[in-house]
C-alpha cells in the first residue's frame, strides 16, 4: 500500500526552557494509505509535538517529514498554509469550530478555501454531516451543539475536503465515555469507507482499542509500534 507520511530521524528539542527538552528523539515512522493509528503515551511523551510536526504546524529540530515526496520540514511558512489546506485535515481537542458559522458552513469552510464548486461543496458538506449523524443540525451554530456533536462536526470538516490524512490530537479528551466511543466509531467507519489515513493521539485506554495500529511514545522516542487486526 502507498506510503502517505514518512518521517526520517525526526527530532524536536525545545531550547526555550531552563533545561533543553527533547520532545521527540529520532522518530522513524511510515504511515500507509488507509491506516487508522493511535499515538499513545504518558503525558509529556511528545504526542502533540509529533502531530504538530507531521502536520506542518511546527518545525522539527532535525529530520525529515516526507509527504507526497516533499519534505515539508524545509517548506516555507507561506507555502505550508496552502499545503495544510490541501493535504491535511485537523481535529483539535476542543473549540475546533468557527462559532459564527453554522455546522454546514463549518464543514464547507476548507472546501471554500480550496475554491471548490459551490454545488459540490454543499452536497459534500451535507453528506459528511449525515455520516456523523448530524443531518438534523445543518444550520445550527456550534454554541447550540454538545461537545460530542461539535467534535463530530470537526471530524466532518476534516474529512470533507478529502485530505491525504487527518490528524486528531486528543479528539475525545473533553468528551464523556459514550460520546468518545461514538466519535471513535464514526472515525473508524469513515476511515474504512473513505479510505482516509487517520492518526489520532489519546490518553484514553478505552478508545485505543478501536485503533488498528498503536504507536507508543515514551520520552519522545517510539517505544512500541503494534498492529492489530480489527474490524
Amino acid at each position: 500500500m502507498q506510503t502517505v507520511i514518512k518521517t526520517e530521524g525526526l527530532s524536536k528539542t525545545y531550547t526555550n526552557t531552563a533545561v533543553p527538552v527533547h520532545a521527540l528523539r529520532d522518530v522513524n515512522l511510515e504511515f500507509k494509505q488507509g491506516e487508522f493509528t493511535a499515538i499513545v503515551g504518558p503525558s509529556g511523551s511528545g504526542k502533540t509535538t509529533f502531530l504538530n510536526v507531521i502536520g506542518g504546524l511546527d518545525k522539527p529540530t532535525e529530520g525529515k517529514v516526507v509527504i507526497d515526496d516533499i519534505d515539508i520540514a524545509t517548506m516555507k511558512e507561506s507555502k505550508l498554509f496552502d499545503f495544510r489546506m490541501r493535504h491535511i485535515g485537523f481535529v483539535f481537542q476542543a473549540y475546533n469550530l468557527i462559532p459564527v458559522l453554522t455546522a454546514v458552513e463549518n464543514v464547507s469552510f476548507i472546501m471554500l478555501l480550496q475554491k471548490r464548486p459551490k454545488k459540490e461543496m454543499e452536497q459534500r458538506a451535507k453528506e459528511m454531516l449525515e455520516q456523523v449523524g448530524l443531518s438534523d443540525k445543518l444550520n445550527t451554530r456550534p454554541a447550540q451543539l454538545s461537545g460530542g456533536q461539535q467534535q463530530r462536526v470537526a471530524v466532518a470538516r476534516a474529512l470533507a475536503s478529502r485530505p491525504d490524512f487527518v490528524l486528531a490530537d486528543e479528539p475525545t479528551a473533553n468528551l464523556d465515555t459514550e460520546s468518545a466511543f461514538n466519535l471513535l466509531d464514526i472515525m473508524a467507519r469513515l476511515n474504512k469507507e473513505e479510505n482516509i489515513t487517520l492518526i489520532f493521539s489519546t490518553h484514553d485506554q478505552r478508545v485505543i482499542d478501536r485503533a488498528k495500529r498503536v504507536i507508543t511514545l515514551v520520552d519522545g522516542a517510539v517505544d512500541k509500534d503494534e498492529h492489530f487486526d480489527r474490524n
Binding site: 504538530n52 468557527i98 459564527v100 476548507i110
Partner: protein, 406 residues
Amino acid sequence: MLITLAWRNLWRKKRRTMITVSSVMFAVILAIVMMSMVNGMKQQMVDSIISNTTGHVQIQDVLYHDEPTMDHAMEYSQEVKEAVEALGDAVKYTVPRIEGFCLASKEVSSRGVYLMGVIPEKENKMNDLSTRLVDGEMFAPDDHFAVIAQGVANQLDLALGDTIVLLGQGFQGMTAAGKYPVGGILEFPLPDMNNTLVYLPLKEAQMFFAAPERLNSLTLMLEDPQKADDIASRLKAELDDEWYTAKTWEELMPDKVAAFEARDAQVRVFAWVLYIVAGFGIFGTMITMMHERLRELGILLSIGLKRGKLAMVCMLETLFISLIGVLAGVAVGFPIVYHFFLNPIQLGADVGEVMIDYGMEPFMQFSIAPDIFIYQGINIFIIALIVGLYPVKKVFRLDMIHAARN
C-alpha cells in the same frame, strides 16, 4: 465569505459592538453639528461680505488694489463692456462705482467722508441700499442731490434740503469740488459706515472727481458664486493687462479669507479630537475581540486560512464598526442640522446685535453642504484603517500552535 465572517463576528457580543458603534456615532453627530454651524456662519459672513462690499468679482485698474487712489480709476471702456457681455448669463448683473475719500463741510465745520458714486437700482439689487433710507428719498441716476449717512448728518448738523460741500482730489491731480443739496438720509448699523458714507449718483460723482466714464471698480454679481475664479481668469485673459485686472472677492479680502481658514482649521482639529476618542473606543474593542478568540484564530491558521486573509477579516471588522458608526451618525446628524438649516436659531439680543452690526441677519445659520458628511466618512475611514493595523499585526505575529493549544 471573509465578509460574512467579519460581519457575524461583530455581532457575537451585540452590546459591546453597539457601544463602540455609538461612540463613533456620537463623535460623528457632534462633528456634523459643529461643522454645519461653523460652515453656516462662514457662509453667512461670506454672503455679507459679498453683498455689502466686494461682490463676487471686480474689474479694476491694475494698480488700484495696491494703491486705491483716483488716479487709478479705470476707463469704463467698450473693451470692458464687451468682455463682460461675452460672459453672457454667467453674470447676473454689474455694479459700477466710483469712490474716494474727500472732505465734507457745512459752513465752518468739516470732516472726512467716503464718497460713493453709484447707480441706486444696482445697489438695491446687491445690498438693498434704499431700505436704509430713514428720511427723504433716494436719487435717480440723473438727479443732482446727495444722500448721506445719518452719522455724517449729525456731525455736520445737516438736515434735508441743506447743502453739503465736498472737496477732494480728482483724476490726475485735478481739484474736486462741488456742493449738493441733501435729499435723503440713510442709517447704517455699522458705525464706520454710518459716520462716513456720502452717496452721489454715479454720473454726478464722475463729474465731481473729474473722471467722466471712469470707475474705481466694476463689480460683477455671478449666477454661480463658485465660478468666481474661473470668471476672473477669463476676464483677465480677455482684458488688456496693461490697464485692467479682475479680482475675486477672496483676492480682494485676503485677511478675511485667512481668518476663515484659521477657523476651519480649528474646527478640523476639534473634529479630529472627537475622531481619535472614538478611535480609541474601536481600538479597545478590537483588543478584547482579538484576545478572547486567540485560540479560534490559531485554529483557523492551523487548518490553512492564510494570515493575510485572517488579517483581512479582522480589518473588515474594524471597518464595519466604523462604517456603521458613520452611517448612524449621519442618519442622526443630518436631520438635526437639516432642521436648523430650515429653522435657523434666532440669536439673543447681545449676540444678535453684533451680527446686525456686521450687516448679517441675527440668525445662526446651519449648512448642509455634502462635504460636511463626506468629511466624516473619509476621516473615520482613515482612523479605522489605523486602528485596524492592530489586529492585522496581531494576526501576523500569532503563534498558532501556542494559540490553538491554550
